[in-house]
Every structure is written in structure tokens, then in C-alpha cells.
Symmetry: C2
Subunit: 340 residues, 2 copies
């Protein structure tokens, strides 16, 4: 685990889809009328995305992408993160690059000069604060082995990969290269299952990948059950145990569980009174958790930091922190009698 | 918590009954014929103890006493412990003193020159490895405020008190003085509930004591349920949560749970193939756990160290380690991929 990491200058390098989120508030009817699935991420082509786009009133355009949100959260916590992901050298791509740089994340991946435009995700937020995502991946699907820079992987304590990349066959070789380089340099591979629909499309392959390559797994309750096609949550915890060093499983208002060898640590959720938009909750939990890991905190404290970071993100639209998470987390930890 | 402790030269000072254990193997019938309760600790006068003693074939005389076992375990783990408890200056008392000193524990309490003899516990081990204890406390009941040396309490990071002392009204003022001195010097008070029968005799007082004075509570599943007169184990975990900083609850083969603020950490038990005598399992769990705490380990690791120390003690008769726990624990932790 992490104490092997020497001569690093990044805490975490995230690899994922470079995406700009287009946020819109809609009523429940908007989804049902169009037969759009709620609460998950649905991939679509440019044309279908365009049709939804035509019917909404965009609230805001904000930088998104699961792993990109996580590394932005890590920067806000005071970590040194980098990001690898593919944009097109277009206006949206430049916006993504400016935003992630301004957040404090190193981002050097060469943009596409031709081919599909920068990816975008229409995020429809219903009155219950649930988000349903409709994503056109665009340039993100062109992430290739060439984009995985050995020097960046070697320089980071942890490589963090989003499971959404598994939806794109072309990205598999890039992911595997990143894992191989990480382990070659004694670094840890963290991976998030990302989405149940993504899970169902890729279950067998994902299981094999997790077992062979992943040291730290993130998932929510539905995803870990889906990974094993298992209805019993506690059984799925026992199934993941021998496969990874650490599994951090989020459960919404029920908190989270960290499975690590012979220990299972159950951590309460933060109480959030006004949940506005749950987009990015899982991404920011991962940010807080990985921050704790790179700081050598106990797994219970890692989970608490994850929950605190997630609690900030769901009080506003968008999946990038709107306060300095460093101070936000420090104050919360101190209020629980923990050192910051 | 523990990081407040400065200028200490002891890790833990234990306060408890100074007892010599007389071990004997008996069949199940021995207990039922005499109507003796199984699995708990029964207090008796010298005469009644003498009657049981007349009927057994003593296997061995070994130093015992719950907190005394714990500090002996701490010494074996590499900690610097001390012990406070009352013996008579008789042969058994001298044996107790030699044994605890040889184990590496500082023990300075002035022995009784007159009055009751040194306490002894007849430990009957049935073929199922369960132990039933019949204790004549003797000199141990004469522990008084005068025996609580402020300098020793100040010098220790943690004061560890066994709940058996609550069976003796005269010891209450000694316990309260130890707690007050500990908190005066910013030290932590650890306490073990010791026994369900002891619990039932003292429930109300104990609850008040735990809430007012205890930072780290040890108990087994039955004891924590008995403390709250609560049948539901998980409810009793929620009830203890606001009362102490840390509650470490053992559950035999089901492992242990550590409750700490917003986290509950479930840790698997060690697998022990030949359980010979469960005497001292709880005492040694406390030793391993407190060792971890004083070494700044995570609560999950503290519980693992506790389980490992307990696993050693139940493979042989008696409640004092028969190997160096330092090496025993280090090797087990390394086999789980943890640093030693």
C-alpha cells in the first residue's frame, strides 16, 4: 500500500472522461414523457443528445467528468493531483482545460485536432435532487495508450481510474497500460465502478479487471451488488474482500463501509439539510478518501473525510467544490474531536 | 485522547484485584452436581472456596487477576506497564509479586501485613474450554485510596481499571481517585466491564461511572447488552456511542467491534484451532488493543492486535502469555500485510 510510494510529486493522477456538464432543472415528467432513465448515466450519440438539449433551459455549464471531479476535489483538499483525459481542441475543450487548471490540477493530455468534439453530459436534476445524466462522450473516447505518460504515472502515489472508461472499448488498452505502469513502479491503482448501467454492460470483464489490477475500489451499494449479481449487500462485501486491498462502498444517507482484509468499518453519513444536487457525491467521496489515504489517516477517518467532501458538493449544483475543502474538512473533523 | 499524554514513562497502569489462579480441569458434571454457575465469575468466602478446593486436583497455580493479566500482556508486547493491587504479605502474595515483576510490570503497592490472605480464584475448565471462576478476593478487597499513587497515575498514558473492583464497595473510592487523578493530568481512563454477573449487581452505578469517567470501554457482547439491559446488540452499540470515546466490544468467534464517534469497525476473530482454555481472552484483547492505542495505530489495527494476543492465550492454560507477544503479533500482522 501507500507507504511504498517514494519519489512521487503527485498524490493522485486521475484518468477519465473529460466532460463538460450542462445542468438543467426539470420536473419528474420531463424524464417519464421522454422515457428517459432516472438516476443513472445513459450514453448517447451527438444527435440524440442534441434533441434533449433543444428541450431544456441550461442552468449552468460546469466542468465535469467523474475522475476529473475527483482530482479537482483533491486539489481543493490540498493534494497535488494530475489528470489524463481526452478533449477536442474546441471551445468546450478549452473551457475544460482552463477550469481544471484553475482548480489546481496538472493536465497535459494532448487534445484532438480533428474528429469528435469535446464530450458533454446533460445533467437533469429533478426536484428530489436526484441527477440523471445523458452523455455524449465525443473526444473522450479517443483516449489511447499514447496518452498514458509513464513519467506521470510513476510520479503519482495513486492512479485513480473511472469505470465509465470501460464503456469505451478503445480505452481498455489505455487503462491496462496505466495499471501495468503503476504496478511496475509500486504505485496503487484505485478504480471506481461509476454506474450500475455501466456495470451491467461490462460485468464479467470488470470482475476480472478488478481482481487482477485494482488495489482500492470505490463503489456505491447498488454497484457492488451489481458487480457480483448479488442481492445481499453484506454478501457482496464478503465477495469483494479477497479481491482488493481496500473497498470503500458508499450508501447515501446510510453512510459508507470500508472493507480492508479482516476489518469492516461502518461510518455514518454527514447530515445535510438542503440537498440540491447529488451530482458528484461519489466523486468527492473518492477525493476525500484518497486524500486521507495519501495522508496516512486511518480508514475510518478516510471515509469521514470522503463523506464531508461529498456533503459539500450536494449542497449546490455541479460537481466541483464551491469552498476550499481543506478548511471545510478541517473544521468538520475538529468538531468531531479528530485532528485536522 | 492519547496524543495529549506527555512526560509519561508508563504506557498503562492497571488497577485490579491481585489474584492467584488455581486451575483445574473438571467434567461438566462437577459444576451441575454442585449447582455452580458456568462461564462467569462467582465471588465466595474463604470457607466456600475451601470446599471446592478440597474436591479438585489443581493442575497449576498461575498468577491471575484481570487487569494484572492485561498489564503482563502489555509487557510481553513491549509496552512499559505498572500495576496497582492489594496482596497479603504471604506466600501466595510473594508469588504474585515475583510473577508480575518477572513479566516486566512495575508493582509497588504495599502488601497487607495483617487481615485477609492474598486473593485466589479457582478456575474450573470444562472440556468445552469454557472457564468458570470461583473467587475469594481476600486482601484484594483492601485496596484503598492510599494505594493510588498520584505519581504513578500521572506517569502513565492510560489508567486501566477492571470492573471486578466494583464488586467491592471499599474499592470505589480508590477507583474514583484514580479517575480523578488521571483526568487532572490529562490521561485517559480505560475500564473493562469484566463480567455479566458483576454487571447485574452494579448496573446503575456502573452506567453512571462509565458516562462520567471512562474514555475507553472494554466489554464483551453479553456485558454491553447487560449494561443497558438491552437484548439487541446493535442497539447497545448505539447506546454506548455517546458515553465514551472508544468502546471495544469482543464477540468471541465473531470477532470484535470498535465504536468511536461516527465509526463502527468490525474486525474478524483470529482462527484458533485448538482452544484449550478461554481464561484471559478478554484481558489479553485489552492488552493488545491498548498497546495499539499507545502506539498510535488505527482502531481496526488495535482490534486486530487485541485478537492476536487473545488467540495466543486461549491455546494454553492460564492467562499469562507463554511466548513473547511482541514477535507473535509482529508475525501475524505481517502475514496480513500490515506493518508490525
Amino acid at each position: 500500500m501507500i507507504n511504498r510510494a517514494e519519489n512521487t510529486y503527485y498524490d493522485v493522477v486521475g484518468i477519465g472522461n473529460a466532460i463538460v456538464d450542462v445542468l438543467a432543472k426539470v420536473g419528474e415528467g420531463f424524464l417519464t414523457e421522454r422515457n428517459l432513465p432516472k438516476g443513472s448515466m445513459t450514453l448517447m450519440d451527438a444527435q440524440t443528445a442534441g434533441k434533449i438539449y433543444a428541450d431544456i433551459v441550461p442552468e449552468r455549464e460546469v466542468p465535469g467528468g467523474s475522475a476529473a471531479n475527483t482530482v479537482a476535489g483533491l486539489a481543493s483538499l490540498g493534494s497535488a493531483p494530475a489528470f489524463i483525459g481526452k478533449i477536442h481542441d474546441d471551445e468546450l475543450g478549452q473551457e475544460f482545460t482552463r477550469d481544471i487548471g484553475a482548480a489546481g490540477v496538472d493536465f497535459f493530455t494532448k487534445p484532438l485536432a480533428q474528429g469528435p468534439v469535446t464530450g458533454r453530459s446533460i445533467v437533469l436534476v429533478t426536484p428530489d435532487a436526484e441527477r440523471s445524466m445523458f452523455t455524449y462522450l465525443g473526444a473522450a473516447t479517443h483516449l489511447s495508450e499514447k496518452d498514458i505518460d509513464e513519467e506521470i504515472i510513476r510520479a503519482a502515489k495513486i492512479v485513480y481510474i473511472e469505470g465509465y472508461l470501460w464503456d469505451v472499448d478503445d480505452c481498455h488498452s489505455a487503462i491496462l497500460k496505466a495499471c501495468e505502469l503503476a504496478h511496475k513502479h509500486n504505485r496503487d491503482v484505485a478504480f471506481t465502478l461509476s454506474d450500475t448501467s455501466c456495470m451491467q454492460r461490462n460485468r464479467e470483464k470488470l470482475l476480472e479487471f478488478v481482481e487482477q489490477h485494482v488495489d482500492i475500489l470505490f463503489a456505491n451499494e447498488d454497484e457492488i451488488k451489481a458487480l457480483f449479481a448479488e442481492d445481499d449487500f453484506y454478501k457482496s462485501l464478503d465477495l469483494i474482500k479477497p479481491m482488493v486491498d481496500i473497498a470503500a462502498i458508499t450508501r447515501g444517507q446510510k453512510g459508507s463501509v470500508v472493507v480492508n482484509g479482516r476489518t469492516k468499518t461502518f461510518v455514518e453519513a454527514e447530515i445535510v439539510e438542503n440537498v440540491v444536487d447529488t451530482t458528484g457525491a461519489g466523486d468527492l467521496y473518492a477525493a476525500g478518501f484518497l486524500y486521507g489515504i495519501t495522508q496516512g489517516r486511518s480508514l475510518g477517518t478516510c471515509a469521514m473525510i470522503g463523506s464531508i467532501a461529498a456533503a459539500e458538493i450536494i449542497t449546490h449544483y455541479g460537481a466541483r467544490p464551491e469552498v476550499s475543502l481543506r478548511g471545510f474538512v478541517r473544521n468538520k473533523l475538529l468538531s468531531y474531536g479528530k485532528r485536522a
